[in-house]
């Protein structure tokens, strides 16, 4: 009868021996419309980039794993589904997020200003030990740069954020920023499990309860 969706699971090999921990984390993307949030996710999860990225219908919940030593870190990635546009993101979006990537577009100063507002919003709304990364996206357009690297780096340092300039187009620093976040997340059983969920259960068809644990690195 008990089938709580445990967030920290131990993967089982067919022979039953433990293979290492799987830690699951909720990661949210934030930032102004059109800075490349969905593109970063698409690049990280599927290795793709679309020049004319349509609003990503039907795909605002993706998962991807990265491996660190004996641990598989599984990111449950929440994209905004466009709800950032008219400032209508729901509190549910931040709820229980253990990591966030706040994205701006290096060719647009306004989006950097907005990114700072999102960081403040996270500091106010999200859990206190959330890991926040700042991504200066569209680095491939550095010739049209409006936000200096140093300016962003200084801001990130002052607020103890991870910081990288990225390009969803060329894939520069995309995996790296997720990996850097994974390294900063607590990987002991308790920290990753309990803080993530409110300790309820997920519902599933036929009451299979928790989804099967994902397999480790390919």
């Amino acid at each position: 009868m008990e089938n709580m969706a445990t967030r920290t699971q131990t993967a089982q090999r067919p022979n039953g021996s433990a293979q290492g921990k799987i830690c699951q984390f909720k990661l949210v993307l934030l930032g102004e419309s059109a800075v490349g949030k969905s593109s970063l996710v698409l690049r990280f999860v599927k290795g793709q980039f679309h020049e004319y990225q349509e609003s990503t219908i039907g795909a605002a919940f993706l998962t991807q794993t990265v491996c660190l030593d004996d641990t598989t870190v599984k990111f449950e990635i929440w994209d905004t589904a466009g709800q950032e546009r008219y400032h209508s993101l729901a509190p549910m979006y931040y709820r229980g997020a253990q990591a966030a990537i706040v994205v701006y577009d290096i060719t647009n100063q306004d989006t950097f200003g907005r990114a700072k507002t999102w960081v403040k919003e996270l500091q106010r709304q999200a859990s206190p030990n959330i890991v926040i990364a700042l991504a200066g996206n569209k680095q491939d357009l550095a010739n049209k740069r409006m936000v200096e690297f140093e300016e962003a780096q200084n801001y990130a340092d002052e607020n103890t954020l991870l910081f990288m300039e990225t390009s969803a187009k060329t894939a520069m620093n995309v995996n790296d920023i997720f990996l850097a976040i994974a390294k900063k997340l607590p990987r002991n059983e308790q920290a990753s499990g309990a803080s993530a969920s409110g300790q309820g259960r997920r519902l599933a068809e036929g009451d299979t309860g928790a989804r099967a644990a994902g397999s480790c690195c390919k």
Binding site: F61, H87, A90, R202, L203
Partner: protein, 443 residues
Amino acid sequence: MDEEYDAIVLGTGLKECILSGMLSVSGKKVLHIDRNKYYGGESASICPLEELFTKFSAPAPDESYGRGRDWNVDLIPKFLMANGQLVKLLIHTGVTRYLEFKSVEGSYVYKGGKISKVPVDQKEALASDLMGMFEKRRFRNFLIYVQDFQSDDPKTWKDFDPNTANMQGLYDKFGLDRNTQDFTGHALALYRDDDYLLQPAIQTITRIKLYSDSLARYGKSPYLYPMYGLGELPQGFARLSAIYGGTYMLDKPIDEIVVGEGGRVVGVRSGTEVAKCKQVYCDPSYVQDKVRKKGQVIRCICLVDHPIPNTKDALSTQIIIPQKQVSRNSDIYVSLVSYTHQVAAKGWFIAMISTTVETENPEVEIKPGLDLLGPIRQKFVSISDYYEPIDSGLESQIFISESYDATSHFETTCLDVLDIFKRGTGEEFDFSKIKHELGDEEQ
């Protein structure tokens, strides 16, 4: 906003958010607006606690209430039936992945001033203090009959036609007394009054089956409650709608629903902006001239720092007070959730008492519920009008939901939603279709 939409949805209460999600999933271009700057309308959970006190013009809470941000207080109390319509909707739309639930620990029924656990299986029936020895046997036989009953297999009906004979007839067939009928109809079949007695028995049998199937799903009780409060539900369906292309605007006043030739809706105006549309879906508060008052519901939010007495310290419970027990025409519902659901600060509980208003003095009506709670630290009473649309919306293409009723669960909520969807689109909502499409969302 100056665009054309298939449908504009006004209000982000649960019903409107489910509708918005279903419409977007069905390929409609949807604009979803709320005049408030938060999601949920009447089905929001209030956070922080200070805001709840302000809302009811009470002096600010003292420090014994812990951090205000740890509270998420529902305005309308309800639970989900584990095997009910809403859970089906959540699972088939994939919205369940945004939410976590807990089973409600205890389900009780009131009899003669005391509460007893609702007996649901043969074993519990035999142990229950609700019935005498012989009555227990009869009730057990009745439960077995319902359990074995198959609507498509007349052999299981045992010489009783449930489609024509009424429920009173079935009770009589098993010789169940008034008291047993009372908790069966109200605590198992979840009827609010006794009209069901003269309806075909099949309806009640189906409801008792829903109760026991729900119970079988997660144990303890047939009810579920979402972590962080019921306000998570509309947010989850809003996200579904957004994922399927729905556009969201909060904090946007609606000044006019613009109607064209033949009384058909053509758009919605906010200030000087007009968004064109073919249809509007909304709650009664957006169309006060198109709804009529059907009655009133009283709801009382009680903040307490202990579980309800005589519930084995359950951290969540539902108690049903059947109408007849307290000489009324409609049941009184008591529900309790706690800090373990992330809706209250550590050590705190939120009890809610609700019922349909029957007298000039509704606060007196809920007294049997209040008396069960033990000491109450803070009490907030609200009496809300209950509205229903004056027409089906087919002519105007303005489809209006009913206000949230006094029932303790979401079954009527879902029936209203599915009915509106059908009126609006001319089709039943196709559950199987979406689920398939969502299949490849996760890689």
